[in-house]
């Protein structure tokens, strides 16, 4: 986004822009390794590198608050949750031969389509916007908070409702199925006999 055509121009990139590009390349590489590695836990750890790289990109765009929230929520909680889940279920040391999915081409198509949409939207929205590094910080907590709760309250609240719905949905899915009436003889007979003692 900082490379879009604008007054400062492409051909004489500042140090920050070069750093931004390099970190971006490293982040992209880590993201690719995340989805291609055959070792499940390594994938989760590469995800940490990817998310950390994103946080550095936010820092370079002077969005300090967003960067630390990114680390707090994603690296500190989501990845820990992910690792917890992996360790609870199946996380062999070494390669998992069944880590490949038959859906890989469909997944790739969806991913590329989503990425193209996002890049297009972002490039279109910020075409010639430049961050003035010498001026006041534009991504400080105060500025972020003010713009979030003055201009973007509705999307913020809509997102909260969405997340709440996802949470409730997850709980509903994870609960054991609730039978309408108390477990009757029908329900008991429906389960196949374990040891085959009597038919």
């Amino acid at each position: 986004m900082s490379l879009a055509a604008g007054p400062p121009g492409f051909l004489s990139p500042a140090g920050v822009e070069i750093a931004f590009l390099l970190v971006g390349i490293a982040t992209l590489a880590a993201a690719l390794v995340t989805v291609t590695t055959k070792q499940l836990v390594h994938a989760a750890l590469w995800l940490v590198v990817t998310l950390g790289g994103l946080a550095i990109e936010y820092l370079l765009l002077t969005a300090e608050f967003i960067a630390w929230v990114q680390v707090l929520i994603y690296v500190g909680s989501v990845v820990v949750l992910l690792l917890f889940g992996l360790m609870l279920t199946k996380a062999p040391i070494g390669r998992s031969p069944d880590a490949d999915s038959g859906n890989r081409w469909a997944a790739l198509t969806v991913a590329i389509a989503a990425a193209a949409t996002l890049v297009w939207v972002v490039v279109d929205a910020f075409r010639s916007t430049w961050i003035d590094l010498s001026g006041a910080v534009q991504g400080s907590t105060k500025v972020t908070g003010a713009s979030l709760f003055r201009n973007w309250v509705l999307p913020f609240e809509a997102l909260s409702v969405l997340l709440l719905a996802a949470l409730v949905g997850a709980i509903v899915l994870a609960r054991p199925p609730v039978t309408r009436h108390r477990p009757s003889k029908d329900a008991l007979r429906a389960t196949p006999p374990r040891h085959g003692a009597r038919s």
Partner: protein, 320 residues
């Protein structure tokens, strides 16, 4: 040039604090625990009351063979101690010691920075637990993760209560806004924060992840030599960070008589008193069981921190 020198000086000071204070706390733990149990503790190393015991321990650790189990995931196994230790070094940079900019560096979102980076340290324990190829290590890693998820929330909630009271999330900013009556006002939050922090550091009575009678030493079972020492150092650095953070958020940091000249001393004294409490709790309380641990977090600490946020909000609205 002067700016560069200033930055380097601050970083060196933080590094020195990082290397010295955890050792001081470790030695204090040896001595305090010993005296509470009617023993003397280390008495020989260094001559005067065994002051050099931890230095000697360090030399011993450095001489030991660095063993990596055959079935382990080598690189992650070796990387884990660094991941566990480095975040605490980073956190120390942001903690204000005294008034007039006596802080490693002022970070605008300092509170978030500190909590975020502290959470990363747990990844080290998880990596160690998984990569050791040992079932006790794996159990330890699992318990670490479960504990972190339960106790991160009350920590965040109570910290945000202080941020609400101060109207800023910069750590020096919070201290500038501090008044003495904040201590009774935020006392519930302070207790919850300190308890949750103890659990996050896996200190007794929340040391289920390293319960030696059940799972040997949890995630660190397979570690030897310097890497093991790094994990131990991370635990003591964690105590320094937790105590100084509680001091800054809930006990007024450098505020006290003659704060202008003696501010740093007040911070150190309050931190030391809290560190003593940490050691005291270790000697006094038995270890909590895993289910008791989760129950304490979800049914006691989280409701209490919500109550604290409510109280903070009400007082804030009434005052303005």
């Amino acid at each position: 040039m002067n700016d560069v020198l200033d930055v380097i000086l601050r970083l060196v000071a933080v590094l020195v604090v990082f290397l010295v204070l955890p050792l001081v706390i470790g030695q204090t733990e040896h001595k305090v625990m010993a005296h509470m149990q009617g023993r003397l503790g280390p008495m020989y190393a260094g001559g005067f009351h065994g002051w050099a015991q931890l230095v000697a321990d360090g030399v011993k650790f450095a001489q030991k063979e660095d063993v990596v189990p055959a079935g382990a995931d080598r690189r992650i196994f070796q990387l884990a101690p660094v991941v566990a230790l480095l975040p605490y070094l980073l956190v120390l940079i942001a903690i204000p010691v005294g008034p007039h900019g006596l802080v490693g560096t002022v970070i605008d979102a300092g509170l978030f920075f500190v909590l975020a980076v502290m959470g990363v340290g747990v990844l080290g324990s998880l990596m160690a637990g998984w990569a050791s190829a040992n079932k006790f290590s794996l159990l330890g890693g699992l318990r670490t993760a479960a504990q972190l998820m339960a106790y991160e929330l009350p920590m965040l909630l109570t910290a945000s209560s202080v941020a609400m009271a101060a109207g800023t999330i910069s750590l020096p900013g919070i201290l500038n806004a501090f008044h003495w009556w904040w201590i009774p006002w935020q006392i519930i939050g302070g207790l919850v924060f300190f308890t949750a922090g103890l659990a996050e550091l896996q200190r007794p009575p929340f040391d289920m992840p390293v319960a030696d009678s059940e799972i040997i030493f949890g995630a660190y079972t397979e570690y030897t030599g310097l890497r093991f020492a790094l994990f131990l150092l991370a635990e003591y650095a964690g105590i320094v960070v937790l105590c100084s953070l509680t001091t800054v958020l809930f006990l007024g940091g450098w505020h006290g008589p003659m704060a202008d000249s003696l501010g740093w001393l007040w911070t150190l004294l309050k931190t030391a008193a809290l560190a003593f409490t940490v050691i005291w709790l270790r000697v006094s309380y038995p270890r909590l069981r895993e289910d008791q641990l989760q129950k304490l977090a979800w049914t006691v600490l989280i409701p209490l921190s919500f109550a604290q946020i409510g109280l903070t909000g009400i007082v804030k609205v009434v005052m303005s």
